[in-house]
Amino acid sequence: MFFFKEALRGLRRSSAPALAAMLTVLITALVLGVFIPVVQATMGAASDVRERVVVDVYVADGASDAERQSAQRAIERTANVRSVDFVSKDEALARAREKNPRAFREGSELLGTNPLPASFRIVPEKADDVGRIVDRLAPKGPDGAREPQLTAIDEVRYREEDTEQILSVTGLVTVVTGGLALLLVIASVALIANTIRLSIFARRREVEVMRLVGATNWFIRWPFMIEGVIVGFAGVALAVLLLTIAKESVLEPMSHRWEFFATPDTIAYPLLVALLVVAGVAVSAAGSGLTLRRFLRV
């Protein structure tokens, strides 16, 4: 109770630095509150794209059913394979026809037989592992051409160029946004800690006097930390208020118009708010406590 009153007195008597600290918390919380969902949406979009990386294994036309089934089992046992989907010759033709109806309208009659092979569509556990799966199923021979391991398999394809591009682009996007997020968090922490540092520096004489009359370190520290908590909480609360207003008035109407825009998995709003509050309060309080440590050394 005494500490709380002391903290309020401190805030009242040095309101300018406290206000500056609060504004800093407010601004960083605002930026983080906007940036975290954006980063998540970007990363979500990147991983969506990565989901599309697949390996196609074409079954030799002459392979028997038994051979085909043992090939499927072998593929399922291969490391990093998430799922295997069998596409029969008829299915393949149906899909191709669906994609390009004009080419097949007369085409199938013209060809007489179905030219498309049966295939397995492999979805890898992780998109980056696609190369390893291919290597396992059809290692490169001495001449550089891929040699399928199983007799039932005619060819293994994974649309090398597309896959490489997807992997490198999405990888870059993930790394860059992740790095930016990390930098932003570090900058926020440093900025808040520094502002609080300054506000305490202005009162170092006061701390010195308290020590001289025999105050223990925690007796001095508590009011400052409570001040930090109040400042941090006020800043984050204001930021959350602004974020909520912005979300309701800008984002909500937009998501009705472009439904696809709002779909990527982003952090739940209450969780985001809780995270910001905890982080803001913790950083402010810890900033106060750590800065004081310098002056409290006897």
Binding site: E206, V213, F219, V298
Partner: protein, 267 residues
């Protein structure tokens, strides 16, 4: 040797000195010497002036006693306890038993007079009722009962110093240290402050006053410990600011201080 407080038994004074310096040397980081093998012993209830020019080590003594500094050599003891054995956790306890008064008052600027004094009671965990009882009492004692709710910057220097004395004494510490308590005050105000400190001394509190206020020392006629370049050069009961000197010595010193030679006067 004269004993200060007549009602205290001399044997007690001999056995446990309140303050003791044993061959204390303190050199600052820049090589500046604060104290050099200084030794002295101050008994309970004594009133001691530490005198000497600026930089002679007076403030170093005070800061060593508050354990703001550590000696390089030797031992500082308070009530028989070596300060080097006081852990940093116990330093606040030490300071609660040592009242301190400074030249620059060191009041908390954003608190009223009342709250400044109350703070040093809150620090030792006094109840609110006790604080409410003791603070007006002590402020009346120092003659500031009408200014309880003024802020330090609204008071004169002498009044601020009275507040800092009230703060130092409100816990009734056994030892009171004053570092140039009248350094910023005019002579008339200084007398009032000294009287206040003397009254505190008469309650049995040991008082150490570092000062270069010659008039005050000469008027009070208490024990004087003179420091020069970190050494104790004189320790005299009922002393003057300067050792007694003959008229000729005085004349020579005066000429030296005024910067005129023997011939200077005739020309």
């Amino acid at each position: 040797m004269r004993v200060r407080a007549p009602e205290a038994a001399p044997s007690v004074i001999k056995t446990v000195p309140v303050v003791e310096f044993k061959g204390v040397t303190k050199a600052y980081d820049g090589g500046v010497v604060g104290l050099q093998r200084a030794s002295m012993s101050i008994g309970r209830g004594e009133f001691v002036f530490l005198v000497g020019p600026t930089g002679c080590g007076k403030s170093t003594c005070i800061r060593l006693l508050l354990k703001e500094l550590e000696p390089n050599e030797g031992e500082v003891l308070i009530a028989g306890k070596a300060l080097s054995k006081v852990t940093s956790k116990r330093v606040p306890m030490l300071r609660r038993n040592v009242g301190t008064v400074f030249q620059d008052y060191k009041l908390l600027p954003n608190r009223t007079i009342y709250d400044n004094v109350a703070y040093s009671l809150a620090v030792i965990g006094e109840s609110r009722d006790e604080i409410r009882r003791k603070v007006p009492d002590i402020l009346r004692l120092v003659g500031l009962s009408t200014k309880l709710h003024a802020y330090p910057d609204e008071l004169s220097g002498g009044e601020q110093q009275r507040v800092s004395i009230a703060r130092a004494f409100v816990n009734h510490p056994p030892l009171l240290l004053a570092d140039e308590p009248t350094g910023n005050l005019d002579p008339e105000t200084s007398i009032g402050i000294m009287q206040l400190i003397y009254r505190i001394n008469r309650t049995g509190t040991t008082v150490v006053v570092a000062t270069h206020d010659k008039e005050m020392v000469d008027k009070m006629r208490r024990r004087v410990v003179e420091l020069r370049e970190g050494r104790v050069v004189r320790d005299q009961q009922m002393g003057l600011y300067r050792p007694d000197e003959s008229t000729t010595e005085f004349a020579i010193r005066l000429r030296g201080e005024l910067g005129i030679g023997a011939q200077g006067i005739s020309s």
